[in-house]
């Protein structure tokens, strides 16, 4: 009976917490969308002007088609209403007559698959490297692991991408140069994308491990006579992972939404390319759609991350 009541109390506070977070999320999205809308319109340049100049009537028709002939305030209210009430981001200026919703839906998946592959690899290898170098502090495994980590952080991803293409695709011929559609084709881009993450994770993991080694509970575990493996896995690793988790959440959102450089080198139809091209082309609707989508995605990921952290670390209390 008491257990049930405690559970109810806990879930009640959880629900209250979630509601508060959701309200906060909506407000954040509104602010982000509003700021983007007005900043975007303040950027110099004419979204409808193309290489070849058009007649005044054609120009007027184009303006009417995209609603640019209306006052900015009206454009804003129409756009916000369509976006928040109907979930409609409008049609792209550049990809004539293609709905922005479809662009996001079609191109998010490749970015997400690539992102998950890259993060999974980075997490596994980063943690392993970090743990080994933390345990063997000052020894050669530490030296090698940290050399890899420093290289990983300092080599720009496009250099790494060309290097991987040259070695694994052209010299050894074991992986495709580029393209998208099979698992083999995700390996090189995932490595190029994940290297920097892996390197930072390894460094973070190492310092975190060194930190944990000096904690009292590790000494206690040793005194209890637990085996080395047990100490590392059950006591050190679990606690050392916490700072890594904090770092991981926001990173997840960034990596999942694509990388312009990696996508253009490997020919991946992801979302990353549009973050750059839409701004260059002043493709208003795509800029808005991507910003709001990215913001929403980040908010969700951070919330999930916070919840997970609370589950893993009992010291964390959820409070709005």
């Amino acid at each position: 009976m008491r257990g049930l009541r405690r559970l109810w109390e806990r879930s009640e506070s959880l629900i209250r917490y979630l509601i508060q977070r959701i309200i906060l999320a909506v407000v954040t999205l509104l602010v982000v969308a509003t700021a983007t809308f007005f900043l975007m319109h303040a950027v110099p340049g004419d979204p409808l002007r193309q290489e070849k100049a058009v007649s005044d009537v054609v120009r007027a028709n184009l303006e009417a088609k995209y609603g640019l002939n209306k006052p900015l305030a009206e454009q804003y209210t129409t756009y916000m209403a369509n976006m928040f009430l109907r979930g409609d981001f409008g049609i792209s200026f550049k990809q004539v007559d293609r709905p922005v919703n479809r662009i996001i839906a079609e191109h998010f998946l490749p970015s997400a698959i690539l992102g998950v592959t890259a993060l999974f690899g980075a997490l596994v290898f980063g943690v392993i490297l970090g743990v080994f170098s933390g345990l063997a502090r000052g020894g050669w495994p530490d030296f090698v692991a940290m050399a890899v980590a420093v290289l990983g952080v300092s080599i720009p991803s496009f250099c790494l991408a060309y290097f991987l293409q040259q070695v694994f695709a052209l010299e050894l011929g074991i992986l495709p140069v580029g393209g998208w559609g099979s698992f083999a084709e995700t390996v090189l881009p995932a490595m190029s994308l994940g290297m920097i993450v892996m390197a930072s994770l390894a460094r973070l993991m190492r310092s975190s491990m060194l930190d944990v080694v000096q904690q009292d509970y590790v000494k206690t575990a040793k005194a209890k006579g637990l085996s080395r493996l047990e100490i590392v896995l059950r006591h050190q690793l679990r606690n050392a992972l916490l700072p890594v988790m904090v770092y991981f959440g926001p990173l997840f959102a960034t990596i999942m939404t694509g990388s312009f450089v990696i996508e253009s080198i490997f020919g991946i139809p992801g979302l990353g390319q549009f973050f750059v091209s839409a701004v260059n082309e002043l493709d208003y609707t795509v800029i808005m759609g991507l910003t709001v989508f990215y913001a929403g995605f980040t908010i969700v990921i951070i919330l999930v991350n916070d919840l997970l952290l609370a589950v893993i670390d009992p010291r964390i209390r959820l409070a709005a």
Binding site: K52, N61, D97, L170, F183, E281
Partner: protein, 551 residues
Amino acid sequence: MRQLGTVVRQTFRCGLVWACIVPLSRAARADEAKGVDVGRKAISINFYDEPKTLDAQKADDTIAGMVLGHSFEGLTRLDPGNRPIPGQAVSWEMKGKTEYVFKLRQNAVWSDGKPVTAQDFVTAWRRAVDPKTASQYAFIMYAVKNGEAINAGKLPIDQLGVKALDDHTLDVTLERPTAYFLKLTAFATYYPVRADILKQWGTAYATDADKMVYNGPFVIGSWKHNAALDLVKNEKYWNKAQIHLNEIDMPYLIRDKNSEFNMFKDGKFAMTWALTKELLPEAQLSKMQIRKYNDGSVWYFQMNTKHKITGNKNFRKAFQLAMNREEFVKQVQGLPGTRPAFGLIPEYMPGVQKRYSEEYPLTFKDAQIAKAKEYLAKAKKELGLKRFPPLDMLITDTDDNRRDAEYFQRYYKEKLGLDLQVDVQTFKVRLERSDKGDFDLVYSGWSPDYLDVMSFADLFASWNKNNNTGWSSPIYDAKIKQAMSSTNPKERLDLISAAEKILVEEAPIVPFYQRFRVYTQDPRLVGVIRRAVGADPDFYYARLTPTLGKK
């Protein structure tokens, strides 16, 4: 190393690839992608950019021109020498100077089996000039009677000078005699469209491969936006016996030129779209077949004649005469073929009998520094200046533009002591500021829309909206107007050449180069036509030959 490679490959295939199957449909196909498949008569090339639209009346980029040029056909099409030959029209006759009657082929059908009728052309052409369509390329239809007035909203669309006399006879009345009209009818804006298909799909028309019908030598088998596009031989095309290739697959969209070249080296692509100056030495070392072609564009500075300094003719002459085009082309561009430009009209344009450049040569001495200094001294005196203030040189934020601008900055400082400030802007901002005249000189270029001198010549007429110089000349305007209505080839080109000489004399623009592209191609693939206008590359005449062996 090879053994190690095999071992690793095996391990990889067995252990990883097939164990961790990612649920993606193209898995098997992507492994197969092959640049050249002689047996299947298929090639793969880079889908180097997503077309903005595949609606022929609205299309305006080169990739759309390539895809549409293979999947549609106009009344005429261009042969390898860029001369118009019968396409969907089997024959035509001229009545007087401004009327054409086209006879359509009885066996010309759409990909769904319905016949191509004269009405399909009427529908398409009216749609192109309809202000509601808001096509960037409406201007190319101004050759047809009332085209411009309709596009400006002054006349209803049914006033366009095109009529279907019956299903297979199309009567076209021109606005004025147009010597190059049969070249225009090969252009995408002039391709036919079916009214029922337009009605069925509304604004979604041509946004996907299954939302359109085709009448060209190929059809679009699949189109994954920003990812891949596949052209498959059209079994209903009237001339399908002449089409050798069964498939032109564009399985990957790779914008990065280094990666495109790597894909070519790996045998995934049958050709590259273009090589950079940096990739050229490697291609040469590997003994690849390196080809070049003129992409048709001419590059120049537009001088703002409304501004104090650049408005001074002597200053512009000094700038024009001092320029060292040979040095620029050889050292800065460094791609074989690229040619200096002295005037506006590119060398390859057809003349009366030979090429325009042979019949109306236009060159003056490059890099005349001493003479330029004289002009500069005159300009200084006229403007009452002790020294010239820095000038705003507006450019687009591309690597090429930056490199070229930096060269000119250094060059003019060294030779004439001029300060050019490089003003880098995004494409859209560059265009907007060009329109507003917010620059002293702007790095600009032009690619022809049809293979005739007029595609360049009218650019700097006072009524042309692409003329950002603020310069106008009644004599220049008059000559262009006269040339527009002339049907005598010699008289026309005399007028154009005279107009071009005015442009050189007054120097509102200072041209400097004609661009060539360099690319590699699998030697088994032959007969590919590279063009400055229309479908480029053009695979209509392309064949695969096994005899040459692997590259």
